[in-house]
């Protein structure tokens, strides 16, 4: 339990630091091209990494090119594609997340035993 509270505290302080730093330290560098470059590019790279990390156990194909129908196989791939497709099409954050999650839950809860 102490470890959990420590972890929450550390994550909270680190997040707060990222929000406070520009107000404390970066005033002088406002408008510096390196900051503008990183501000645009780094979050994009990090978000991409988070997507891959979340999908790291994805294995749509089983042995000998059969379809893997477990929670980390076809259902995960389908749900991820639905989220991306819906979001590219409609651009509604809530709709994309809700539809993809509902589909994934339905697929995972109705897997053949």
């Amino acid at each position: 339990m102490l470890e959990l509270l420590l972890a929450i505290g550390v994550a909270g302080l680190a997040t707060l630091a990222s929000r406070m730093l520009p107000f404390l330290a970066l005033r002088r560098f406002q408008g510096h091209p390196l900051l503008r470059f990183l501000g645009e590019q780094l979050p994009a790279a990090i978000m991409t990494i988070l997507v891959l990390f979340a999908l790291r156990r994805l294995r749509p194909l089983g042995p000998e090119l059969t379809l893997n129908m477990t929670a980390e196989g076809v259902p995960l791939l389908l749900a991820a594609l639905v989220v991306a497709g819906l979001h590219l099409w409609r651009g509604n954050v809530l709709l994309s997340i809700a539809a993809g999650t509902a589909l994934y839950m339905a697929l995972v809860q109705n897997l053949p035993a």
Binding site: L4, A14, T15, P22, Q41, A44, V93, G100
Partner: protein, 227 residues
Amino acid sequence: MAFSLAPWRQAALLTSPVMLGYVPLGIAFGVVCVQMGYPWWVAPLMSVAVYSGAGQFLLLSLLAAQASLTEIAVASFLLGSRHLFYGLSLLERFSGAGKRKPYLIYALTDETYSLLTSHPDAEQAAMAFRVSLLNQLWWLTGSVLGALLGSALPFDSAGMEFALTALFIVLTIEMMRSVRQARPFVVGLLCAGAAIYYLPAQHVLLVAIGGACLVLLADYARQRRAP
């Protein structure tokens, strides 16, 4: 000055699209948190101590991967690094916010930033404060509801953790729309791919994010040298 409800009503109206996103996503967060075996109060505690949707889901996956405190600190800070640039663009606006400034800085999420920078009404510090506070209230309400629902479990919530994956996919697509360059996405893709292939799960994020940072910095230096 007497307390007036009217500006709060206006703030509630301004934040209503965020409410529609924060309450369900907060519920999903609370449910996943309880499913992972944590007591109900952990979700609201995180929603106050960390208060970042992506940051809190990241914390859950780092805890599940048994990451060290150092890794949690670095990964949370780097994930939050986008806030650096939010702050930079609000430096001047917040300088006149007085006693409300600390809260405005602490509560600066992606969604709050987009409201504060896209509505002329929210330019005034008092209204910015109301908008920020209501947004956190929506998020907190969702996480409490989810944690309580999750422990009462009136429905089978297996698979709900996919909401996190969906959130990251959606945020990446939003960034593709605003950045309009392939490079940072390709860099992220390659760094993540290599780290996932070669490393155990608990080190993947830190190494991949650090690597992407270095590649982008090198790229910046190369561009500056080029004529």
